[in-house]
Amino acid sequence: MIFNSIGYYSLVFGLFISIYLLFFSLFLYIKGKSNNDLNLNIYHFSLIQLFLVILSFICLILCFILSDFSNETVYYNSHTTKPIFYKIAGAWGNHEGSLLLWLLVLTLFIFLFIIKSKSQPKTYRLLSIFFQQIIITGFFLFLLITSNPFDYLFPIPEEGLGLNPILQDPALVIHPPILYLGYVGSSIIFSSSLAALIENNLGTIWAKHIKNWVFVSWIFLTLGILLGSIWAYYELGWGGFWFWDPVENVSLMPWFSLTALLHTISVLEKRQLLKSWTIILSISTFSLSMSGTFLVRSGILNSIHTFANDPSRGIFILCFLFVLVLLAIFIFFIFQKKITKNSSKSFLASRETAILVNNWFMMFFLSIVLIGTVYPIFLEVINGSKISIGPPFYQKLIVPFLIPFLLFMAVGPKLKWIKDNLNEINLNQIILFIPSIIISYLLVKLYGVSNLFTVPLFGLGFFLFFLTVKDFFSKYSTLSQKISHLGFSLFILSILFNGIFAKEFTSNMKVGDEREFMNKTIKFEDLKIIEKNNYKSLVAKFNVSDNKSSINLMPEVRIYNQPKTLTSEADINSTIYSDNFLVFNVIKDDGYYNVRYQYKPLMMWIWFSVILISTGGILAYFKKND
């Protein structure tokens, strides 16, 4: 009870502080003083603001731990029988709590920004704080007006309505915080870019400074998306990890923009080119994050992941989003004329051009995902037709363009700044084409694989892979870049392998049945029924064996009582060679169960390659700080 109040009033005080900081920073900026030190009050109040949000967050967690059902959020999302680990996670596994997480990242990042930007001009810092506080104020208002995590419920219920059982999973516990550090973290890039634009502070020093933030945001966003996919794969029981579902797309879109920005910022740093474009990318990354939040929380799109739908929240976020976007557009057009532009062109064969090409493809992929996600909304409003846009659309558009993209990735990172005389494209590299062709030829021959794009993709994936491995022994570029690009080539290869060589088997079986599949025997050995404290559990024991190995898989079906749901938990045996995936479902025929087994080669390499990509980023970040 008391924590409920403390949590609520912390937010109210936080709101007042954000309004104060908003006006105070603007006031200080307009007043302008000679010394470059930030007024101490700014430091203090930002810290207090952060502290209040942390306090509020802790209070919400405490309400969950104590199963305080007088708190409406706890009531809807928790249950006394839930294990304590998941009670805590329940705090951010719902709409209101996750917005509190938004606020936490927003306030944390502005505070860190204030501490770490001492080398930057004061006016720039003040403006950054100003813009960030606009965002923070908006979120405080959004939270307190439409999505209060501390609403009272009276009379106090005895028991909660329980968290969705699918959300009781360790990966899902860390997925939102990590994702938000990236996703929401792009807010600081937005705010500081607007400030840099107004102050014409767009030189090498600023680029070096903002690069840190871009890296931090990018690393967390990449890892956050990875965790979401891992969770979907291990928990959702369908064996897939990416469905081009709106919520997934919404996290991917800022990633494309941020990756483009990551590359562009080094052009700005080294050559002082592309100032306007850098600002545009910074604005669009966070705008995409905000739009994503709108699309997912307003109920305008339906998806397997959606939070509780509420149009009033949708209207608030929509208006908030457009205020920010219009503000950014205005500022851009007004101040863009005044910045000292470098309008020299870059040479065709140069690193700058290569990065422009990277951006070109990133923006293209971004547009595909963006249009695919929002087009049904537009179509329905304009002429009432309802269509679905699913995986086939995205694959058909993205896959063919991956081919030239991979080719450019093979060439681009090696090019010199300013001008490259192409001496390095020597026979060695073309020789590497040969094993690539041989391998893709073998794949076609042995496995009858084909589709117009698969083979060139394989060939180029291998080519990029061989090239990036070979480049480890050369001085072309930084270690971090090599690792990330190597990771990317592995990513493409493992997705191809996994997609093409995966095999599946479905059948209705009863205990004792055996089936043959792919030279393996799948035996339904046993079924146990166990009553647990908040669900009934059916645990099956399967054995998948051939003359080389024998694997036991124990998938589970859970019948929950609060709310009444049935979930199916797959059992996955993961090795570095392949995953064996098995899931079963209850069907109407008594005694029979629908069994689905999948053989998925190189599954772990998909995760590993993304970790490798992020590792490159982490290395780059720590190197920069030297």
Partner: protein, 178 residues
């Protein structure tokens, strides 16, 4: 000058997007397919529950002005709850009610009807659920009000019948009869 035009275009485009999203919010996000094919599938043929004879839906929708097609199953709890409305519809108007028994066990279905009463003039079986898909159904229970003369689906009810839907059916029938 060009910059100004670009600026205005971008602002206008943003406002356009804003209004589309605003409009989009008003619409329901959970799409339930309404009747897209207005005509009932008269060619659909299935076996009867009681005597295994094959019959086509068109043959059954012949007399009277209206028919009701109701998809049900003995294992479906909401079907149990809506059953009384069907009995009443039969009593009040002597409506031609055709049942489609969905993915059910024959003896369970027969027992269901003997326990709760049989409002159906005929019951067809759909053991694998494919007949219901041919009707355009999503699940069970589902009820269609059909105009016998032009073979069109007047109303499609997804989910069990309740007071409101029951009254609506009565009203439609009364209006047509007058």
């Amino acid at each position: 000058m060009i910059k100004n035009i670009k600026f205005i275009i971008i602002i206008l485009f943003s406002l356009f997007v804003f209004f589309i999203f605003l409009k989009g919010l008003e619409k329901s996000n959970n799409y339930l397919p309404e009747k897209t094919s207005k005509k009932i599938e008269t060619n659909l043929s299935a076996n009867k529950l009681y005597d295994q004879k094959k019959v086509s839906l068109g043959e059954l929708i012949d007399n009277n002005n209206f028919s009701i097609i109701n998809i049900w199953a003995s294992w479906c709890l909401p079907c149990r709850e809506e059953h009384v409305y069907l009995i009443n519809l039969k009593k009040i108007n002597n409506l031609n009610i055709i049942g489609i028994n969905y993915k059910d066990d024959k003896s369970n279905a027969i027992r269901f009807l003997s326990d709760l009463g049989n409002p159906y003039s005929e019951v067809l079986i759909d053991p694998d659920g494919t007949k219901s898909i041919e009707l355009g159904a999503i699940g069970v229970p589902e009820t269609y009000l059909v105009n016998n003369k032009n073979k069109e689906i007047i109303k499609k009810y997804i989910g069990p019948l309740d007071d409101k839907k029951f009254q609506e059916i009565l009203k439609i029938i009364k209006n047509e009869n007058n």
